[in-house]
Amino acid sequence: MSTFDNKDGGAVLLAMVDTIQKNKAYLSDIDGLIGDGDHGVNMNKGFSLFEKNYCDKEFLFSEGLEYLGMTLMNDIGGSMGPIYGTIFTGMSEAGSNLQKISLTDFAAMLENGYKGLSEIIEAKVGDKTLVDTLIPAINSLRDSVARKEDFKRALLKMKTAAKAGSDSTKNFKAKYGRASRLGERSIGVLDTGSVSCYLLLSAMADSIITLL
């Protein structure tokens, strides 16, 4: 079974920072269609602050998730501060004692991230939020664990599931967040949170694959 070293995982965090920085304008533009257009800007600010404070430090993958989560929660605020902050610190918690991270471990980490999130938001699949990306990704990983699939294949499948989940938000009417007040008018537009969530999971997957 393939694994990656927790200590090599710093690169994964930097890949996540990189994807947010590259997609700053794209995320803000989608947000502008039904939100207030600042998602990319705020995400970029949070992830870049993490990069500034930690880029020259050595840290484990699980530690990096904790630092990133705390940076988002304590320094950025908005909606994404608590949302991503909770996901990343939850992931970190579940991975903190690991030297090597397997597919099963990674799936458990992501699940624990969602567990924390579910304590602060009530959104379910179909409510046009990042949950629409996160849940299919977790389900895909779980499924791969059950099938004893290879880590790389599982990550690629997770990416596909996450992308499909994010794309599905186009058909939904927003029930949470700023777009929820638009009702029918939110249909036809992607949920920005679901897109940033896909981008982050995708960056994580691609980067982990290089470490396997």
Partner: protein, 331 residues
Amino acid sequence: MQRIMNDPDNIVDEMLAGFIKAHDNIVESTANSRVVKAKNILPDKVGVITGGGSGHKPAFIGYVGKNMCDAAAVGEIFSSPTAAAFLDAAKAVDQGKGVACLYGNYSGDNMNVKMALKMAKKQGITIKTVVANDDVASAPKGQEEKRRGVAGEILMWKVGAAKAAQGASLDEVIAAAQKAIDATKSIGIGLSPCTLPTVGHSNFDIKHGTMEVGIGHHGEPGMKVCPLGTAKEIAKKMVDIVLSDYPFKKDDEVVILVSGLGATPVMELYVLYNEIEKLIGHAGLKVHKAYVGNYFTSLEMMGATFTMMKLDKELKELIDVPAYSMGLKQE
């Protein structure tokens, strides 16, 4: 973008620095750079805090002062303050009698306040909340809990803070602020969009010659787009929407707040108020007090909000309590 700024990423911090320098007789900075606190807070009273995203000047820090909020947590532009900022605001003003956190109904603020409450509990600080939901355009009647908080928040702060200044208990302050917001309804109209300095272009459009009725404070789309009418027609639309949202009877006394959204000349706000006042009079209501000006803005959006609070004896007494903050000064 025609903006007076340095690095857009630092605009909030630089605004705060300027604000604290300019109003150092009213406010002071705290250990948390995103928390602004009133000077000379009365001893032995319930703390009153608020918080919200930036870009709404004078809200939120402009309503920190004497007999107004004791502290405000400051977020990025149009983005909730952190949970840590809400918590630090509460800690900065807690005198052992508890803290009333009076804020607006937005998902980010709700989440961060929820987390701050959790942390406060662990540290032995009691925070209770009232969530403003005065924007009638943001959800239909019967779903008031989904409505956004807009300029009506100012009247909620005014009432809650006055109650606290009178030495009321935390539960009494909360009850007064809740009563205030329940009696308060708002509607906004937008004439032109606004641009986040960090984004550089506006992310929504209001076509020339049209207005968006029910627009939100961050440009959230409204109920409908219609041709831009005269001040009289605009006033009629706004007053009709607000009056149809709650029961009132002849001779009820009301407070009216007409706020610009940032780029509409103040002169036009008085033109609008003149029309609104006539319609309110025709409806049989009496204006006890009026506030007209840029009270709660939305960067450089053009447009205005109309807010009305129906008074009872307690609300009237509390709204009349003198106050001194940057955004609201009354004798």
